[in-house]
Amino acid sequence: MRFFNRVSLPTPESVNLEFALAGIGNRALALLIDYHALGLLLAVFWIGWISFSIQLMNFLNQLNGDYSATPNWLLGIFLLANFAIFTGYFVYFEVFWQGQTPGKRLAKIRVIREDGRPIRVSQAALRALLRPVDDFLFLGVFFILLSQREKRIGDMVAGTLVVQESSADPKTALTVSDEAQQLATQLADMTQLDALRPDDFAVVRAYLQRRSTMAIQPRRDLSMQLARQLKTLIQLDTIPTGLTSDQFLEAIYLAYQNPSSRY
C-alpha cells in the first residue's frame, strides 16, 4: 500500500523535490494542538483585558467627565485584538518558523509554496484569513480529504502545500557489547558479508535500534530468527558459542557498517 501521498515538485534547477503530503491526520493533530495553545493565549488575554477594563472604568468614574463612550471603545478594541491574536498566531509562526506553528512542529509538518520554497507573509496571511471558512464551517476537512493535493480553500488561494518534515533516520547510538566487537573483527574473514544487501543491513539496524521497546518474548523470537537467517546468508556454519543472538546481530551490524574490516 502507498502509505503516503507523495508529490514531486519541479524546481528551477530542474531537480525534482519529493515530498510526502501531511495528510488529514497530521493536520488535524496540528490543529488540535494549535487551538489549545490559541485558546490558552486568548483566555489569558481576556482575563487581562477584562481586569484592565474594570480598573480603567473605576479610575475614570472618579474623574468628573463624560466617559460613557469608553466601554464601546474597550469592546471594539477587544474584538479587534481577538481577531489579531487569532490571525497573528498563525501568520507569525508560519512566517518566522518557516511554515510551522507549534502544532505543526509537534506533528512534524510544514507549509511550503507550490514550488517548494518557504512561505512568506502574503501566503501565511491568506491562509490565516481563510481559516475561519475552512475550520469553523468544516469545509477544510472535505477539501483536504477529496482533493488530490490535500489543499483546503486557504491553501488553494495562497498556493501552498502542507508537507511532512523529511524525518531523518533516528541516529540513536547503538550500544554494542564487547563480545560483539570482538566477533565483528573476525566475521569479515570467516564469512561472506558481501552476500548481505543494504536492505538486510537496514533490517538489522532497525532491529538493534528498536529492540529496547519491544516485548520480551517476541523480541527473543525475532532476534533468533534474524540470526538464523543471517547465518545462512553469510554462510557461517555455527554461531560462535557463548554468544546470544543479539550479540551476533550486533557483530554483523558492526562488521557490515565498517568496510575497513571487510577488505
Partner: protein, 326 residues
C-alpha cells in the same frame, strides 16, 4: 532526478498523524468493497429491529396470546445473538482486509469474510466478555464513588448538613466548594478510567481476525498486552480520528434537520405520521452514517494494531521473503 530519503515507508514506527492518515488512505482506496461489507453487516444488525415490528403490531391488534411471549422472547434473543455475530464478522472482515494490505498480503473480500465468518461465535464471545469486563469496571467505579461520597458527606457534617444545607454552606462556603470538587473529581475519574479501559481493549478484534491461534479470551489479552505502553498515543489517535469525523456527522445533522423541515412542510398538522416519518428517517440516516463511519474505525484500528505489533514485536522486520499471513 528524484530525492527520496525514505524509500520503504514502513520500516519506522508510525507517528500519530500518520496512523490516522493510513486509516483514511486505506478506506479511500477500498471505498467500494469496504462500504459493501459495512452495509451488509449493518443490515444484519437491522434484522432484530425489523423482526420486532410485526410482533408489536400483532400484540397491538390482538391484545392476547401473551403466553406466546415465552417462545418469542428467547427466539428473539437468539436472533439478536446471531445477528450481532454476523455484524461483528463483517466489521472484522474489513479490519482483516486492511491489515492484509498493510503487510503487503492483500486478500479478496470473499476470503477475508470466509475467515472472520468462521469465527463469528468467537467474536460474539469476545463481545460478551468485553461487556462483562466493562460491567465489572463500572461496578467497581460505582463502589468507589459511593465510598467517596459517603466520606465527603460525613466530613461536611453528615445529617446536620442534610437538615439545613443552606445554612451549613453559608457558615462555611468552603464546604460547598469542597463538595463540588469531590463530585467533579468523581466524574473525571469515571471518564479517565473508562477511556483508559477502552483504549486497552480497542484492538481486541484484530488478533482474532488475523492471528490463527487467537480465541475469544486470548484476543482480549493480546489487545491488553499490545496497548500496554501506548495508551496515551492511541488515545490521541482515536481523538484525532473522532475530530475528523465530526464534520461528516455535522453534515448528516444538517441533512436531518432539512428533512424534518420538509416532512413538517408536507404534513402541516402535528400528526402521528409526522412523528413516525421523522423517527424512521432519523433512524435510517443514523444507519447510513454508521455504514459510512464504521469502515473508517476498522481501518484505523487495523493501522493501530499494525503499528503496535511493529513497535512491540518488530512486525515487518524481516529479511527478504515475507511470512505468510497467519
Amino acid at each position: 532526478m528524484t530525492f527520496d530519503s525514505n524509500p520503504s515507508d514502513l520500516t519506522q514506527p508510525l507517528s500519530i498523524g500518520n496512523v490516522v492518515n493510513g486509516g483514511f488512505r486505506l478506506y479511500r482506496s477500498n471505498l467500494k468493497p469496504y462500504l459493501k461489507v459495512s452495509a451488509i453487516g449493518t443490515l444484519w444488525a437491522l434484522i432484530p429491529v425489523l423482526a420486532i415490528i410485526p410482533v408489536v403490531l400483532f400484540y397491538v391488534t390482538t391484545q392476547r396470546y401473551y403466553n406466546l411471549l415465552g417462545i418469542i422472547v428467547p427466539a428473539w434473543l437468539l436472533l439478536v445473538a446471531y445477528c450481532s455475530a454476523q455484524y461483528m464478522a463483517n466489521s472484522a472482515a474489513i479490519a482483516r482486509l486492511a491489515f492484509g494490505e498493510l503487510i503487503n498480503q492483500p486478500e479478496t473480500v470473499k476470503a477475508a469474510y470466509r475467515y472472520t465468518s468462521a469465527r463469528k461465535w468467537s467474536f460474539l464471545g469476545m463481545g460478551a466478555l468485553l461487556s462483562l469486563l466493562y460491567f465489572g469496571v463500572a461496578l467497581g467505579m460505582y463502589l468507589i464513588a459511593a465510598i467517596l461520597i459517603v466520606i465527603m458527606f460525613a466530613s461536611i457534617g453528615g445529617a446536620e448538613f442534610l437538615r439545613s444545607p443552606a445554612s451549613a454552606a453559608v457558615i462555611n462556603p468552603g464546604l460547598a466548594i469542597f463538595a463540588g470538587l469531590v463530585i467533579l473529581a468523581i466524574i473525571l475519574m469515571f471518564i479517565v478510567v473508562f477511556t483508559w479501559f477502552s483504549v486497552r481493549f480497542c484492538v481486541a478484534e484484530l488478533p482474532l481476525s488475523v492471528e490463527r491461534e487467537a480465541t475469544a479470551t486470548k484476543t482480549i489479552g493480546r489487545s491488553w498486552e499490545l496497548t500496554q505502553k501506548s495508551v496515551w498515543r492511541i488515545f490521541i489517535i482515536l481523538l484525532v480520528t473522532f475530530l475528523v469525523t465530526l464534520p461528516i456527522q455535522f453534515l448528516v445533522q444538517v441533512v436531518a434537520t432539512m428533512a424534518q423541515g420538509a416532512i413538517a412542510a408536507f404534513y402541516p398538522q402535528e400528526s402521528s405520521i409526522v412523528l413516525a416519518l421523522t423517527y424512521a428517517f432519523t433512524y435510517l440516516l443514523g444507519l447510513a452514517t454508521g455504514i459510512i463511519i464504521m469502515p473508517l474505525w476498522q481501518t484505523i484500528k487495523a493501522v493501530i494494531y499494525y503499528d503496535l505489533r511493529s513497535r512491540r514485536e518488530g512486525l515487518g522486520l524481516q529479511l527478504r521473503d515475507p511470512e505468510p499471513l497467519t
